[in-house]
């Protein structure tokens, strides 16, 4: 009788079941090799020691929960079940959890990120900015109901600090915390007037503080346009944020103290300068006064002073005399002025009177002249008789000679005439009488 014959699948199925029953959950320690991450997110690798190798697979849903970066050469402890991949007949470890050997996963992740950012130069001292000379507005990224903001505000109160605080409320632990912290850093960095940022939270376990060890938070701090003070947990807690921040404060309270001290140091600088200025003014005035007194007491100046005193007296005298002279002169001028005015008035009167007289005489004269003017006579219809071609006016009958040619002018127009006869005795009245009859 032959032994029972199995199909491949049957054998595989039996082995698979046996393995799964024997190793429903097992912890396996070894070095990672042949690490490969598929596009689907599933992770494939081998665990090996000096003598043996075992294949391992980690599904995407588990792999994304691994806190640190899995890579070749890393010594890890994996938890999972052992089963068979039927198409290939491979038995493998189906890993559901992996931890670095000898330390916590978070610690390893912390070290890995720290190494990476350090290599990028994000922790370099020369990148660190000083706190502003006079921070007036501080942005705080933290939980609005947490210990950090309470402590910060308490310190400001106690120190009577006159500062403006702008809070960006962010979740500081658990799922999504890092994202909110990043948003807060970016938002406050862009908020107008913010001089310095405090990013932090109160104390807690390493898991509670974890968001401050996340790479996006570190990068947000690094790119912040204003200086950042990290203030996470207690003195002993050190996070990646602390390495990247411009200043690390051991606690949120310490961060607030730092800001206030900067402000106070600034106020003190002003006061000391103002004080020094006052002292300098006082001293220099004292010095100058002393110089003047010293000089005044010198022998030369004492002789000089006597001279000066004499001179002074003379000046006084001169001045008095000068004043007297001036007064007399002014009086004289006043008197002269009066007389002059009187005289000129009188003169004016006379001149006016004379002028008036002359004008009257002149007018009378012109009127007479006008009346007497030969033209006026001619205008009335009389004529004038000229001799010698009009050069000489005939005024008497004796001027007229018989046979002579004379010129006779009316006011307008003239004619020449030949003298036919001359009667030297005849009077003009006889002609008027004759005409009038």
């Amino acid at each position: 009788m032959r032994d029972q014959v199995y199909t491949v699948s049957q054998v595989t199925e039996i082995v698979k079941t046996a393995l799964e029953v024997a190793f429903p959950q097992v912890w396996v320690e070894g070095e990672v090799s042949g690490y490969k991450k598929a596009a689907s997110g599933h992770v494939f690798f081998s665990l090996k020691d000096e003598k043996s190798v075992i294949k391992a697979v980690m599904w995407q849903s588990m792999a994304r929960k691994v806190a640190f970066e899995l890579k070749d050469g890393l010594n890890v402890v994996c938890r999972g079940k052992i089963s068979v991949y039927e198409p290939r007949g491979d038995y493998q470890l189906y890993v559901d959890q992996v931890e670095p050997k000898g330390k916590g996963a978070l610690q390893l992740r912390f070290e890995q990120l720290k190494e990476k950012l350090k290599a990028e130069g994000l922790f370099d001292e020369k990148r660190k900015r000083k706190l502003p000379l006079r921070p007036r507005t501080i942005g705080v990224v933290t939980s609005p109901t947490g210990a950090a903001i309470r402590d910060i505000l308490r310190v400001l109160e106690r120190r009577y600090a006159k500062l403006r605080v702008v809070i960006y409320p962010a979740k500081v632990q658990g799922e999504g915390a890092a994202g909110e912290i990043v948003e807060g850093i970016d938002a406050l960095g862009a908020w107008p007037g913010i001089d310095v940022l405090i990013v932090g939270r109160g104390g807690g376990s390493i898991e509670d503080l974890w968001a401050f060890n996340e790479e996006p938070v570190a990068r947000a701090i690094a790119r912040s346009p204003v200086p950042v003070i990290s203030a996470v947990g207690h003195e002993i807690d050190v996070t990646i944020a602390d390495f990247v921040a411009d200043v690390r404060a051991s606690t949120p309270s310490a961060a607030a103290e730092m800001v206030i001290e900067t402000e106070e140091a600034f106020a003190e600088r002003i006061s000391s300068q103002a004080r020094r200025l006052g002292e300098l003014l006082r001293y220099s005035l004292q010095d100058m006064r002393a110089d003047v007194t010293d000089l005044a007491q010198h022998r030369i100046f004492q002789n000089f002073q006597v001279k000066l005193a004499n001179l002074g007296r003379r000046v006084d005298e001169l001045e008095t005399r000068g004043k007297n002279v001036l007064r007399a002169e002014r009086q004289a001028i006043a008197e002269h002025t009066g007389a002059a005015r009187l005289a000129s008035e009188r003169l004016g009167n006379i001149a006016r009177k004379t002028l008036r007289g002359h004008r009257a005489a002149w007018e009378r004269l012109t009127a007479t002249l006008d009346a007497l003017s030969p033209l006026a006579v001619l205008k009335k219809g009389y004529a004038a008789v000229w001799k010698s071609g009009g050069l000489c006016l005939a005024r008497r009958i004796e001027d007229i000679v018989e046979d002579e040619t004379v010129l006779v002018s009316f006011f307008k127009g003239e004619f020449s005439a030949r003298v036919q006869s001359v009667d030297k005795k005849k009077l003009i009245e006889s002609r008027f009488l004759k005409e009038g009859s």
């Binding site: 502003p132 000379l133 006079r134 007036r136 939980s143 609005p144 109901t145 947490g146 210990a147 950090a148 903001i149 309470r150 402590d151 505000l153 400001l156 109160e157 600090a161 006159k162 500062l163 403006r164 605080v165 702008v166 809070i167 960006y168 409320p169 500081v172 632990q173 658990g174 938002a187 406050l188 908020w191 001089d195 939270r201 109160g202 104390g203 807690g204 376990s205 509670d208 949120p252 600034f266 106020a267 600088r269 002003i270 006061s271 300068q273 103002a274 020094r276 200025l277 300098l280 003014l281 220099s284 100058m288």
Partner: protein, 86 residues
Amino acid sequence: MTNLTFEKALADLEQIVAKLEKGGISLNESLALFEKGVKMARFLRGELDKAERKVEILLKDDKGNLKAEDFDAADADGTGEDGGTG
């Protein structure tokens, strides 16, 4: 903005004091410097006194825009960090 003129004023004041301490300037010039220095110090003190404490919190409105509102410090009871002990 204020910080700039403020810092400039302090730098000026310190420069004036240093110049006066060094000496060797005329009476007129030093009096002018004193006058300027006193003015700076008064301005700076005034600016310091002008400041006041104000606490605001940024909140998102329904459009997702941030808006600053007064923050009531009484809200910060220190319990919001779930296990944070401050």
